[in-house]
Amino acid sequence: MPEPAAGGCALIAAADMFTASPYALVAFGGYMVGVFTLGALAHKLLSRGSFLKEYFLGDRQLNAWVLGLTYVATSVSAGSFVGFPSLIYRNGWIMAVWIGGYMVGGLVSKGTLAKRLNQVSRLTGAITVPDVLRDRFQSPLLGTLSSVFLLFFLLFNLIGQFKAGGVIMQQACSGVTDTSAYQAVHAAAGEAVTRIGLWNPETAAASNDPFYGMGYPHYVVGVLIFAVTVIVYTTYGGFWAVTWTDVLQGIVIVLGALLLMILALVKVGGLGTATAKLREIDPALVTGPGPNNFLPIGLSVSFFFLWTLGAMGQPVGMVRLMACRDTPTLRTSLFMIGIYFALIYFPLVVTFICARALYPTQFVGNSDVIMPTMAISVTEKWPVLGGLILAAPYSAAMSAVAGFLLLMSSSLVRDIYQRNINPNVSRRVVRWISYGTTFVVGIIVTFAALRPPPLLQYVIVFTTSGMACTFLGPVVLALYWRRATRAGALAAALGGFLTLASLYVIGSVEAYRHSDGAFKAIQFVPVYLFGVDPVVYGLLASFVFGVGVSLVTKPLPEKYVDRYFLADTPAAS
């Protein structure tokens, strides 16, 4: 879900209000031991077969359970557990319509592409999405350009996920801040960020800034713990580590969501009671379009597009489809993904409807804290359970980060270095470059997350939409339309991206012009033409440009195209 950075500041501001039990950290610790054990086991697999294929694609050996869970764990980011609950708490039952696209989300995003994408990537030995585009269209330019787009989009997404992971870790540590070990780490973190000029304790003490105030070093500790854990296991174990931990994380996410729903229902006295209470609090919470015209029909359609076609265009999901073993695996995992989504999103809606009934007004101003608040408040008698529930959003952030991190390093190593700079690089060098790149990218993102850019949340929504508008058109045309040309694919990628970007630029300029005369605020907001989100226009433009330009440009020679489409060609299956 593309709003992973939600809630950072508010959570920090409220960190003192809700303190997790030390037992919660014990549960967290147990979970982390599991993650590292899986990472170490995964590393052992890297000695077999082709290193790159193994490190970045798991040698295409994912079975149904693993594929289903890894796809879900990667799709469900920290935003699903921080931003989404916050929106349910504020807007009530209309959020069930907002998330409605997920009823066919797995089918659309996976079922339409999986078989062909996997087959085409096998035909050429492609291990990344830019690889597929480059081979299919015989275009190094398209391959390199799509890699650059991918790196740009993923960087912002990663910063947001690191920030969310750091905030959740900070919350989990809130029960042990009095211990000498924590205080030593906290003091060292504060001193380090002061030395490198990221923070000044004197100005912080006088400031009301909820993020960079005196609580900031707690956030730094949280980010560093998050960064160390996720970078180490991703770098060391590669795709298998990410995939196996995704499985663990997928299970934790589903169980966490279900457990939280059951405990919330018990606490509030049933869903009927909760809904009746919401009607008393604000009648708009039980009717459309929700409070303050939250979801007009144009946006309702837009979100349906985003959760289905938008999800279909995310390269991190596509890579998982390329890693699948065979079609029986695809069929089973496709069914399982539908079940997983139902088991995650519906319980979340119910849980935070209950939360609003339990806390009618207390968190309206800072609703981003509602997830950890509920996790702690419904498990007062069983704090270990609270820790496990808190591990769910942490898992969501970790699995999304690990997937993105690996995708970025595969783009750098494979698409940029091996295919453009040094095609004859040895296996040994590739191995070390892959480890090094994953590690260095992780370090860069950690530094960026220590001082996240302003308006990050909006940038992340933009980049997620941007990936869909840039990649979906070219990939669909590549897989299903023989007549698609190199220029057509380029036009689809650029047309989709530029349409989206233009609507954001126009919206931001308009917002700036109409902002308060005394305080001209820079905003990053799109213009909603006819009430519809720009992602819909971007996707439409991508396909129109792709098809139109292909039809007026010269087709690729048959010798390059036939193998992807015709039977009885040497490389065709």
């Binding site: 696209g101 009823m103 066919v104 049933g270 809904t275 039980v286 459309g288 309702s300 539908g338």
Partner: protein, 96 residues
């Protein structure tokens, strides 16, 4: 362009994608229109509850979600064909 025989996997994948897109369109129309006509601008006092859920949410989201899951059982275990995904080529240094 040569007029050779298309790969069986491609024909199957295209057929399956078409069916999914039809279901996607039906789900979109159902979810958005039913929620709009039954739930938008509704007098809150007339909203009845089904299993604790407002009736308009039940009919616009829960019911089609259930149908979507049933459809996916049929699609995955009856309709979707098994195809040979082919041999994996060595990724090598790459061409192009």
């Amino acid at each position: 362009m040569s007029a050779g025989r298309e790969q069986q996997l491609l024909r199957n994948a295209r057929r399956e994608a078409r069916v999914i897109l039809v279901v996607w369109a039906l789900a979109l129309v159902w979810c958005v229109s039913v929620s709009y006509f039954l739930g938008y601008g509704r007098d809150p006092d007339t909203v009845t509850l089904i299993l604790g859920i407002p009736d308009w949410v039940f009919w616009s989201v829960i019911v089609p979600w259930g149908f979507a899951l049933l459809f996916s059982v049929w699609f995955c275990f009856r309709f979707m064909a098994d195809d040979d995904l082919g041999e994996d080529q060595d990724e090598g240094a790459g061409h192009a």
